[in-house]
């Protein structure tokens, strides 16, 4: 009888701890904002992970073979997130929705509306490019044709992007 009571008590305490922890996580996510959430949920947080994704069926297949290789090799992962990537082929070959899907892999989908030359064909393209939402670029911390070669500085660089994660 005593054992049953103790084990019930332990279960209750464990349950409470899990709930508290989940609530704290939720709170953190709310506080950290949609860009951080996008990074948290990104399937690829390392070059190796992105390369693995590229080897199976994925949104990256919307790119031509050469462009896919170029894009994957261009993504710079830092401990804070993606530090930069080459956007040229995305703009040249894809619709806004296709770009959004690819950038979602690396938690950078909020950047899509900045790629002004993306093709706009469908309703979802319109929403992504011209709509207002949590993933439209509002923070203004994404600079095209610049790259983070040294800490704390964005340097002019064709087809690259300088993000705040440098």
């Amino acid at each position: 009888m005593k054992k049953v009571v103790i084990s019930s008590l332990i279960s209750v305490i464990l349950g409470l701890l899990v709930n508290v922890s989940l609530a704290a996580d939720k709170d953190n996510l709310n506080k950290s904002g949609s860009k951080e959430l996008a990074w948290e949920l990104a399937p690829a947080k390392t070059f190796e992970a992105l390369e693995t994704i590229a080897q199976r069926r994925s949104p990256l297949d919307a790119l031509s073979l050469d462009a896919k290789k170029r894009f994957v090799e261009s993504v710079v992962f830092t401990e804070n997130g993606v530090g930069g990537f080459d956007y040229r082929d995305l703009e040249l070959e894809l619709t806004a929705t296709e770009i959004y899907k690819i950038l979602s892999l690396i938690g950078q989908q909020h950047v899509t509306p900045s790629l002004k030359k993306a093709r706009v064909k469908s309703e979802s393209d319109e929403i992504i490019m011209f709509g207002k939402g949590p993933n439209t670029p509002g923070g203004g911390d994404f600079l095209l044709d610049y790259y983070c070669y040294q800490r704390g500085s964005c340097e002019s660089s064709k087809n690259k992007a300088c993000t705040s994660n440098c």
Binding site: G140, F142, Y146, S156
Partner: protein, 315 residues
Amino acid sequence: MKLIITFFFSLSFSNAVLAYELDCRDSSLSSLDKVERDIGDIIESVRKKNALLPQKEKKVRVSEVLEDYFNKCLRDSLSNEELLKYSNIELSKYYLNVDTIHFYVGSKELAIVLNNIVLEQVRRKGVETNRAKLLTLEGILIQSRMFKDRDELVQIFPQIKFSELEFIDSGNKLNKKRTLNFVDDSNRLMIDSMTLPKGGYVVVVSHPLCHFSQNARGFIRENKNIYGVMGDKSLWLIPNSRRMYVDKVVEANLNEEKLPYVYAYSNDDWSEIDYWGTPAFYFYLNRELMFRFSGWPEEGNKDRLVEGLKKVGLL
């Protein structure tokens, strides 16, 4: 007959030499592919060299090195007469290569070549529907300040929604340092010129979409002494580039009236500025450059900012 010329390129530094050997390729397709790689190698070499230079040393400009490469290896192949001889693929490849060089150099000569290539492609009915390329060309013509050619481009392609920017010449050509200033926070930009004032002054090469520039401005705003000084004695200069982000710049200026951004009309007007990464701080005393530093990492760069302000008597 295909002619391959090799030239040896070297740049002298105070204590080292950057040197590499380049082939001036012939005009075969495989050679044109390699030109793109050559250009990438040049940029990388200069960057690596610059990264090793002490902060006080003047940096090598990528633009100067690439311009030299263009003059020695590509210029002769790109006259109007020569363009007519190339196949569609060759034209596209030449465009890509010159486009990359122009990105860093920004010269009119290169913009004219790019404009001519596109006009030739249009004549062959090649690029009518390539919206992305035409928008880029508009940016190229604006970057090279070829406003008349840009207007002609807009007229040739009425179906394309171009930038709608309007450039007005103030007629003030008294000073060498030209700027593009906003007129009424709109799409209208005034070409003006300025002279640095006497006494202490700070030019901050910066960009409203650069996170590090934003952080530097945030720090300055929070420090009353520094804000008070820089509000009157600083110029926030956006490097000349193809993408102008006019709406973002207007928004930033509305949010911070004491530190307004202006565009550099030509980076060459600011010969003493050797690094156009953002942010980069240049401190002048009686129009003479006294001190400079670049970058605003996470922990800031307060000591250097204060040092610079003190050196030019602003603190």
